[in-house]
């Protein structure tokens, strides 16, 4: 009987081991199955015409040029707003306000912002940028909204990066007569640069995939032109996909699959670059 007891015990342990392995791959396998299905449906739809055509009522003629242009506009302006503010805020928190009361309050506030649903940022953008500042449903309003959305991600990543720069480097710089700002500019930030870039790329990849806050701000579902200024109406790739998914005709679902292939390529590429940088920069001081 005692022998049997130990056998069951060992068996349970073995079973759990394989169960754990199965769980680990469950999500990834689902994702692979899904992506495989999308490629099967949508890959043949991707052509140069699909890239350069405007959206159309006729599924076979529809393309993503206005959505791609919109995504590009939004990402450029979001970067211009979010990167300097995010890095600046992180440097302030880490180098100037680390132990202070203000620093603690800012930190709690940032963790809270990181947990606010993206659609709430949409409501913020709709009222503050769209109505009060008079930007309407423009690229500028959408970009500012996304910039606020990804700000916590950039700040947290930059703080980690700056924190990892050893004290000895700072002290060496001070010993050479550099001021605090000179030390930050010429020693701390360059030493932390690659980790900061990794964080920024992850944040931007998140922004590229967002649809909900932009819909709330007033991005359009049907845009038959390429935006030529930041005050123009716009759409982005995820919203174009959403629009095609919402239509009952099967032909539009194929367009959605093709759009998803392009969107996923961009997201995966950005994430791959981020992971590569992270592995490459595991330098320990």
């Amino acid at each position: 009987m005692s022998n049997n007891f130990y056998q069951t015990k060992r068996l349970k342990d073995e079973v759990f081991k394989y169960f754990g392995l199965a769980c680990t791959f469950f999500g990834l396998i689902m994702l692979v199955i899904f992506i495989f299905g999308i490629f099967k449906d949508g890959f043949s739809r991707i052509s140069w015409d699909f890239i350069i055509n405007y959206p159309s009522r006729n599924a076979e003629k529809a393309g993503i040029i206005s959505a791609l242009a919109g995504t590009l506009w939004v990402i450029v302006i979001t970067s211009l707003v979010a990167i300097p503010i995010g890095i600046g805020a992180a440097i302030y928190l880490e180098e100037f306000a680390r132990q202070s009361r203000i620093g603690k309050i800012l930190e709690i506030n940032i963790s809270n912002l990181a947990g606010v649903p993206s659609i709430i940022y949409g409501l913020l953008g709709l009222e503050i940028f769209g109505r009060i500042m008079g930007m309407g449903g423009s690229i500028l309003a959408g970009s500012c909204t996304l910039a606020l959305l990804i700000l916590p991600i950039i700040i947290v990543a930059t703080r980690e990066a700056v924190k990892a720069v050893p004290k000895s480097l700072r002290e060496a710089s001070f010993a050479l007569g550099a001021s605090k700002w000179q030390t930050i500019k010429t020693t701390v930030v360059p030493a932390a640069a690659s980790s900061i870039i990794t964080g920024v790329i992850i944040a931007l990849s998140r922004a590229i995939g967002e649809a909900a806050p932009l819909i709330v701000v007033g991005a359009l579902a049907y845009v038959p032109f390429v935006p030529t200024s930041a005050t123009s109406d716009f759409t982005v790739l995820p919203i174009q996909i959403f629009n095609w998914v919402s239509r009952p005709q099967k032909a539009f679902l194929i367009n959605a699959s093709a759009g998803i292939i392009i969107l996923l390529s961009i997201t995966f590429l950005l994430n791959a670059v981020a992971v590569y940088l992270r592995i490459k920069n595991k330098i320990k001081y």
């Binding site: 680990t24 999500g27 440097i91 649809a211």
Partner: protein, 293 residues
């Protein structure tokens, strides 16, 4: 320019950057509270929380948030029911069973699940999961909370596995070794010693995952339907708070109308839930975090 003055100016500019995060919070609160306040001068707050119908866009208007709230909580509950056992098992497996190198390879791969844009998951739920489940559940509608919740669960697996993994890694090895020395095997050690020791971190990870699930928008907007309905049946179309906000944003609702303000009333309800969950988890983490020497 005087070096000292320049240094001060730069410090103020950097402080201004940090201040923007505070302004963001204030703006969110201002927008939600001011618009919701006007809304509640026209709609009684008691009706808002007790009426069982939500039909602000119809001729006969009802403003009961309950159908949207149950829709939101139902999809989130399904998502957690999928993600919690899987995420937790992954965290235990990676710490107690797997080779150390395996963990370093698999963790970035699992993060991919959270990096996929949510419209993509919505498409997945609508065109793959629902048709698949319809073979087994007769009468399952084309839009339903089960598919949306299931796919959302896959998306939040890394949220739970990653934070739980951190909590389990923090359990010192001498506690494990004590258990193993008493004759327990790995599974007994994991469930009776490691998990209780890491409980606070695990609970925090689950609370944050719930908060993420109730704020999720595109998956439910695509796959769960747009019919506010007070039900716990996962096979019929429902509507979540987030979907409602998207639905109104896509439609033609005049600014400054009562219908327009409903999205802020719905928004502040959603915000209150996520804010509560997030801060509860911070507090919980601080209060119950076990310190080991």
């Amino acid at each position: 320019m005087n070096k000292k003055i320049r240094e001060k100016i730069i410090e103020y500019i950097l402080a201004l950057c940090a201040l923007i995060t505070v302004l963001t919070t204030i703006s969110i609160l201002y927008v939600l509270i001011s618009e919701a306040f006007i809304f509640f001068t026209e709609v009684s707050i008691i009706d808002f929380f007790t009426d069982t119908q939500w039909t602000p866009l119809f001729a006969e208007k009802h403003f009961g948030i309950l159908p949207l709230l149950t829709g939101t909580l139902l999809t989130a509950a399904i998502a957690i029911a999928v993600a919690m056992p899987i995420g937790l098992t992954i965290a235990i497996y990676l710490n107690e069973y797997a080779h150390k190198n395996f963990k370093y390879v698999i963790k970035p791969l699992l993060e991919i699940l959270a990096a996929v844009p949510t419209v993509v998951y919505g498409f997945f739920a609508l065109t793959v999961v629902t048709p698949f489940l319809q073979q087994y559940f007769t009468g399952m509608a084309g839009f339903n909370s089960l598919s949306a919740g299931f796919v959302m669960g896959i998306m939040i697996i890394p949220y739970i596995s990653s934070l739980s993994d951190d909590a389990i890694t923090a359990v010192p090895s001498h506690i494990r070794e004590g258990s193993l020395a008493l004759g327990a095997n790995r599974i007994q050690t994991a469930f009776r010693v490691v998990i209780p020791s890491a409980a606070s971190g695990i609970i925090v990870s689950i609370m944050l995952a719930i908060s993420r699930a109730i704020g999720e928008t595109m998956i439910v907007a695509i796959a769960a339907g747009q019919q506010p309905r007070l039900t716990l049946n996962p096979l019929v179309p429902i509507e979540t708070i987030t979907t409602y906000i998207v639905q109104v944003s896509l439609g033609d609702v005049a600014h400054n109308s009562l219908e327009y303000r409903t999205i802020f009333a719905a928004g502040i309800t959603l915000f209150a839930f996520t804010f509560l969950l997030n801060n509860l988890s911070f507090w919980f983490n601080k209060k119950f975090h076990r310190k080991y020497v």
